[in-house]
């Protein structure tokens, strides 16, 4: 597969440099160790939020650094968790004296590297709490697996916890909000095509011309089941059923509906997806109070999409709506 890159080994580094140069008003990037932080430095007295993980999911996480969301982001190599050193450096950069929350997607590598980083940061006197996101209903529970993956719901956790931090909540409260969002959010994805990791140069899996992969993750890992290509509406149903059954969501619930693109699927198709998902929720008496549609948690150029549903309450709505200014999401300022 063709890519617009220079040296495949320098993809992340050069991309971060471009990101920092395009958004110099918002962020600064440190190149060694590699991390991105808010341009103004840590906000004194505010809980700092740090997230990170393998690259290839852009705009996650660097695109969410800014007012009302993250204080720093740590991009690892493509699809590979960063090592502890840059996480520690980002944690220091995010620390305004009120402690730092690590938002970690549940993958063995991310969890282990963030754990080590938290230990090291603590040794330097920074209070760190971690919230591990695991919203992917496609994965069976941790008796059988490494536990559910953190996928698109992570954006909602980062946004709402970021709003709580901006409001002045302390570390426990911010961590509590993040846990609450994670507990109330469910996602599931589908892939139509695989993606190609730049340094690998080969597709992450093979799919026939009439097949789709259901329950796909965001690292080019294969999904749980493969099925014939069906209509968009049918795909939505195949994703929504397990999502709605899991929490479960029911009549009268207020929700945020998030249709996320995997990177290579045109917006036209994401909105066709959204249309059906909103219709199904409506039929079940579930209210869609907020929505988000776009490519926010991607898997390089993979074609596919995921659906995320978050159960809302007044406080979560208020936090969601509060001012936000990042490269990828912005409102109210």
């Amino acid at each position: 597969m063709k890519k617009l890159v220079n040296d495949p080994k320098r993809v992340v580094e050069e991309s971060v440099a471009g990101f920092a140069s395009a958004h110099a008003d918002l962020v600064t990037a440190s190149s060694d160790p590699l991390f991105i932080a808010r341009a103004g430095g840590a906000t004194r007295g505010k809980v700092g939020l740090v997230s990170g993980g393998g690259s290839g999911h852009e705009p996650l996480h660097a695109g969410f650094v800014g007012y009302g969301m993250l204080d720093a982001a740590v991009p690892g190599p493509v699809f590979t968790s960063p090592t502890p050193d840059p996480i520690v450096a980002a944690t220091k950069a995010a620390d305004g004296g009120a402690g730092v929350l690590h938002i970690v997607k549940n993958y063995t590598g991310d969890v282990l590297n963030f754990e080590t980083a938290a230990d090291l940061a603590l040794a330097e006197g920074i209070e760190v709490r971690a919230v591990v996101t695991d919203d992917d209903v496609a994965v069976r529970d941790s008796l059988y697996t490494a536990g559910r993956r953190g996928v698109a719901g992570t954006v909602l956790v980062e946004r709402i916890a970021g709003a709580a931090a901006e409001r002045g909540d302390d570390l426990d409260a911010v961590a509590g909000i993040a846990e609450r969002v994670n507990a109330n959010v469910r996602s599931m994805g589908v892939a139509l095509t695989p993606c190609v990791v730049p340094h690998a140069g080969e597709p992450s899996f093979e799919l026939a011309d009439d097949e789709i992969e259901l329950g796909i993750g965001i690292h080019g890992e294969p999904g749980r089941t493969r099925t014939k290509l069906v209509s968009a509406d049918e795909v939505v149903d195949l994703l929504l059923d397990p999502i709605l059954a899991d929490l479960p969501f029911g009549e009268g619930d207020r929700t945020l509906l998030f249709v996320n693109g995997m990177g290579g699927t045109p917006l036209v198709e994401l909105y066709i997806f959204f249309r059906r998902a909103a219709e199904v929720l409506g039929e079940r008496g579930i209210a869609v109070e907020r929505s988000l549609v776009g490519n926010f948690v991607t898997s390089l150029e993979m074609q596919g999409a995921s659906i995320t549903v978050l159960k809302l309450d007044d406080e979560l709505v208020e936090l969601w709506d509060s001012p936000l200014h990042t490269a990828a999401l912005r409102w109210g300022r």
């Binding site: 393998g54 968790s81 502890p84 282990l112 080590t116 059988y144 340094h199 690998a200 993750g217 749980r224």
Partner: protein, 211 residues
């Protein structure tokens, strides 16, 4: 029966860097099948860094292992970085202060490495992870040492057991790591981390002069 010293430790790590580079593509392909296709790249990056850190480094085997462990932790990332790093770190603590490692010391090294791996990653034998290479390796090393084997023979026994363990991961359904997301579909593929661990342990035996 002379023990294995710092020269052996250095040679092991350098041979590992070479063998991982050589098998990079194979490890990528294994990880693509049931993971995310980066294992060969991750370890290659890590062991190349180890190789260049070793340049000019001095000390006991434990010192070199510790250097390698912290280098892996700070360059590999992913799941395998902290796991292999922890294994090597715990192994180095088990043989701290010794200039030469006899058969029993090698058993202590491998056992501590295995234990470190298990306590960090929480995987059990049969979960289709690198534990399936390290665990039989530590057991086989212990048995060989009890039977009076030389250090090189102990390492050869460990390597052989690790290779057997890696091959034995093929039919397993993964319960840890990314492959676990696949459920039943993970069966029929060899675990990349078990395979790379077998390569690492074979390099240890070769460095000790075992063919």
């Amino acid at each position: 029966m002379a023990g294995l010293g710092a020269d052996w430790a250095r040679d092991w790590l350098l041979r590992t860097a070479a063998v991982i580079a050589e098998h990079r593509t194979e490890l990528l392909a294994l990880d693509r099948a049931i993971g995310d296709g980066d294992h060969g790249e991750n370890l290659d990056r890590g062991f190349q860094a180890v190789a260049s850190k070793l340049d000019g480094a001095e000390g006991t085997p434990a010192d070199l292992f510790k250097l390698a462990a912290t280098t892996l932790i700070s360059t590999v990332g992913g799941a395998s970085g902290p796991l292999l790093g922890t294994a090597l770190l715990k192994g180095s603590v088990a043989v701290q202060g010794r200039e030469e490692l006899d058969s029993d010391a090698l058993v202590a090294l491998l056992t501590a490495a295995r234990d470190g791996l298990v306590s960090r990653g929480k995987a059990e034998p049969g979960d289709k992870t690198m534990v399936d290479a390290w665990s039989p390796a530590a057991i086989a090393a212990g048995e060989a040492a009890t039977a009076g084997a030389s250090p090189a023979e102990v390492l050869a026994a460990a390597a052989e057991a690790a290779e057997g363990g890696a091959a034995a991961t093929e039919p397993l359904v993964a319960r840890k790591g990314r492959a676990s997301y696949l459920g039943e579909r993970s069966a029929g593929h060899r675990d990349p981390g078990a395979q790379s661990s077998a390569l690492i342990l074979r390099a240890a035996a070769r460095a000790a002069g075992h063919p």
